[in-house]
């Protein structure tokens, strides 16, 4: 069955595979849990009587977005900020991660290699210009143009050409079938739509999009101010008039600001949340974030080529203690797919991890390393927020018990990236980001031709499953394949899967409607957040 897109309401009715928990969350979207349990058609519902419109939200982000060029998202902050002003064909529901219509109301595969988009009517850009198929084509073409130099364009590399059929219809011809394409547009890492023919340099600091907010002022590395888009096509939202985003890299000022009421909303670390715990004016939410941390093995280091060694290393670490030391306890144990990502992941309680040092010692002896060995692991420096150092330092203490001595080589970001991207290490601690579809966290690592497979892991079954899933249009069938892959990979331990962080958000009590931490770093829930002041 082909995947089709429909108007929001019908889509929700045909929701498949969502847990009850997710259903309830979606229903609570517009803060109407108490009134009508089933009210919400989508996360972006029509306003209810209780909601107050207007006001200014002072929001602290960690990093500056660097650029508002819609075809070149430089960092995570850019993605978050740009989503306020730009949109794309589809978007991901902030609560369920399901793919939803945005600037396209319908999409259909007339053939496996032909994707036809029907665009939404009556949409205008922030400058008043109407959005048409010509604009859509211009944006896609520019994003995929090698001369633009977007490192993420490879996501859409299946697209061969884009044609305007009429004012509201765009046809994409693909080089090969790619049923996951609509989801990839929704993740919006590469592209947002700006008026066709715009000067990219100008867009970088003066974005013009179709989103719920428009940019009013941007002082790089200091703050950015957004104000509500009066012409926004989606009725009723957003509720807040002005977003004042302040960039504060250090946690102390953010904490002080929250306490003093100068900041209304911010991410905080687990320790930060603890420090603020007594404040009467604040409330907190937390949730799993889809970026997970791993320790990678390279085949150039002979002991790692033996599965028993890897399994031994896997059996001798105490993941709970690692999470305690590295994250102050604010993390979850993960399998190959982080649990909470729709219904793809395996629940932490069901993961086959255990701590068994005796078994580990036996395996090491069997593999021919009864006395252990010495190895160097590449990591980021100790103070870095990614918490790589405490992770591997704690694991190193555990590995002492089976005779493995680990030397931690700390490299700052530039050097670390070099080593990571060129696969130049014996062992490395790193992480893996969130993607539009799980295939993107499976294929690169578990497929023999994957781009990030330093071990050279190759299993014919897993390979076949991956290749099948890449062209399987039925989501449920994909999910089953993913499960099979996960179970096999957990046995073979091509790398050590460790944890995903639990993100904590702190906000003033007057901030209503932001009740869930998004899996990716998007803050789209801001659009349905309102201020009770």
């Amino acid at each position: 069955m082909r995947e089709n897109g429909h108007e929001a309401g019908k889509r929700q009715g045909r929701r498949r595979g969502l847990t009850r928990r997710q259903l309830l969350k979606a229903a609570g979207a517009a803060g109407l849990m108490n009134l009508t349990g089933m009210r919400a058609a989508s996360a972006l519902a029509a306003p209810a009587v209780l909601i107050k419109r207007g006001g200014t939200l002072n929001w602290a982000e960690v990093n500056d977005p660097i650029s508002f060029d819609p075809h070149n998202r430089v960092n995570a902050s850019a993605t978050v900020m740009q989503r306020m002003v730009y949109q794309c064909f589809t978007r991901q529901n902030p609560r369920t991660m399901a793919v939803e219509p945005a600037l396209a109301t319908k999409w259909e595969y007339t053939k496996p290699t032909e994707l036809v988009w029907t665009l939404r009517q009556g949409v205008t850009f922030h400058n008043g210009r109407p959005f048409t198929a010509e604009d859509a084509k211009w944006n896609v073409d520019r994003a995929l143009d090698p001369r633009t130099g977007s490192p993420f364009a490879v996501w859409y590399e299946a697209v061969e050409k884009t044609e305007v059929v009429n004012r509201n219809v765009v046809k994409m011809t693909l080089k090969r079938p790619d049923p996951l394409l609509p989801g990839k547009f929704g993740a919006m890492r590469v592209l947002g739509f700006a008026p066709g023919g715009s000067d990219p340099r100008s867009l970088a600091s003066n974005p013009i999009g179709t989103g719920p907010y428009r940019l009013v002022e941007w002082a790089p590395n200091d703050h950015v101010t957004f104000t509500r888009n009066e012409r926004y096509w989606e009725r009723g939202v957003p509720y807040i008039d002005t977003l004042n985003v302040k960039f504060i890299t250090q946690e102390d000022p953010r904490i002080a600001g929250l306490r003093a009421g100068a900041i209304d909303f911010s991410i905080v670390s687990a320790d930060g949340a603890r420090r603020l715990a007594g404040s009467p004016n604040l409330k907190f939410i937390k949730g799993v974030h889809g970026v997970f941390t791993v320790i990678k093995f390279h085949q150039r280091f002979p002991p790692f080529r033996d599965r028993r060694v890897r399994q031994a290393m896997n059996l001798s670490i105490d993941r709970k203690e690692i999470i305690e030391k590295a994250l102050g306890g604010s993390g979850v144990i993960i399998g190959p797919i982080v649990y909470g990502w729709e219904d793809y992941g395996i629940a932490p309680e069901q993961l086959p991890y255990k701590v068994d040092v005796d078994q580990a010692k036996k395996l090491m002896a069997e593999a021919g390393y009864p006395g252990g060995f010495e190895v160097t692991v590449v990591s980021l420096p100790e103070g870095h927020p990614a918490a790589f150092y405490p992770t591997v330092a704690t694991a190193a203490e555990h590995w002492k018990r089976i005779g493995i001595t680990v030397r931690i080589q700390q490299l700052e970001l530039g050097a670390w990236l070099q080593r990571n991207n060129t696969l130049d290490y014996d062992m490395l601690v790193g992480n893996r980001g969130f993607r539009g579809d799980p295939i993107d966290v499976l294929q690169p690592h578990y497929h023999p031709k994957g781009s990030d497979n330093p071990l050279g892991y190759s299993n014919s079954q897993v390979q076949r499953w991956i290749e099948q899933a890449a062209v399987e249009p039925d989501r449920l069938k994909r999910r089953d394949l993913y499960l099979k892959i996960q179970l096999k990979v957990l046995e073979d331990v091509p790398w050590l899967l460790l944890w995903a962080p639990i993100e904590n958000y702190a906000m003033q009590r007057s901030v209503m409607g932001y009740d869930q931490v998004p899996f990716d770093s998007f803050k789209d829930l801001i659009w349905t957040t309102w201020l009770d002041r």
Binding site: R275, K325, E382
Partner: protein, 283 residues
């Protein structure tokens, strides 16, 4: 020579001054002892995770545990090692280079002087800490790079301090007559010039060691300095300050250690200055 004040006041002043110097030297000696005998004195391995993270001080862990459960007191003790090692080695290196260059510039004069001093001026165009940040940031954080960076930024000052008295000495009669007698340059420098410059150099060296400790601490605070498994007070302070209110000691103790060490060397420098050359007093 200046007219001296009344004897009693003079002696009193000297005593008080020397008290400062004596205190300083006592602190320096204590630090060196701690650094040398760190292994024996430290209750735990500074990198061992011995308990629950962020534990407050108790009978077993007198200063508490840090964010990875490591004993703070042990880390402070080993931190002394790094602070002294880095500062002394780097200043030692810059003494070698700086005195050599200063001697050459002052003694030979002319082109050599010009060239050398221009290169030194190059280093003076930036504040030394900023230059150290740039160097350490670009070379990458490590013990060696910190030592190199500090040595590089301190050499010009030492060169300058050496050069002036050398220039002065060159014009004296001793040197003129020694030259006339046919003595080689090296001999002249060693016998007639060097003794003159020893005093200011020693004083400057002490002050520079204090500065070096501060620079190393600053670099490590920013994450550009010494890395684990080596323990640095600056590092401890830099990572520890994220846990304010949860474990205030992590923000207080390392900073106090830095201050104590810098103080010790500054006091000692002050005392030395007074003893070695009263003319330098008060700078």
């Amino acid at each position: 020579m200046k007219p001296t004040p009344s004897r009693a006041a003079g002696l009193g002043r000297l005593a008080r001054r020397n008290l400062v110097g004596v205190c300083g030297i006592a602190v320096v000696v204590a630090l060196i002892t701690i650094a040398v005998f760190a292994q024996r004195l430290s209750p735990f391995d500074p990198n061992a995770q011995v308990g629950r993270r962020l534990s407050p001080p108790d009978s077993q862990h007198v200063l508490g545990l840090d964010q990875l459960g490591r004993d703070v007191l042990s880390r402070l003790i080993f931190g002394a090692r790094v602070a002294l090692l880095v500062s002394m080695v780097s200043i030692g290196l810059s003494l070698l280079a700086g005195v050599g260059l200063g001697l050459a510039a002052g003694y030979y004069g002319g082109v050599a002087d010009n060239l050398i001093m221009r290169v030194m001026d190059l280093m003076f165009t930036l504040p030394s800490f900023v230059l150290a940040v740039a160097l350490a940031g670009l070379l990458g954080p490590s013990l060696t790079n910190v030592i190199i960076a500090i040595a590089l930024v301190t050499t010009p000052t030492i060169a300058r301090i050496t050069r002036a008295p050398v220039l002065a000495a060159r014009e004296t009669e001793y040197v003129a007559s020694a030259r006339a007698a046919g003595a080689g340059d090296a001999r002249i420098m060693l016998r007639h010039v060097l003794p003159n410059i020893v005093a200011p150099i020693i004083v400057q060296a002490t002050v520079s060691v204090a500065d070096a400790i501060l620079i190393e601490a600053g670099l490590s605070f920013l994450g550009l300095g010494v890395q684990s498994p080596l323990t640095s007070w600056g590092n401890m302070l830099g990572t520890g300050r994220n846990f304010m209110e949860l474990a205030n000691g992590l923000s207080i103790f390392p900073g106090a250690a830095i201050m104590l060490a810098v103080l010790g060397f500054n006091f000692a420098g002050d005392g030395l200055r007074d003893v070695l050359d009263p003319r330098l007093r008060g700078v």
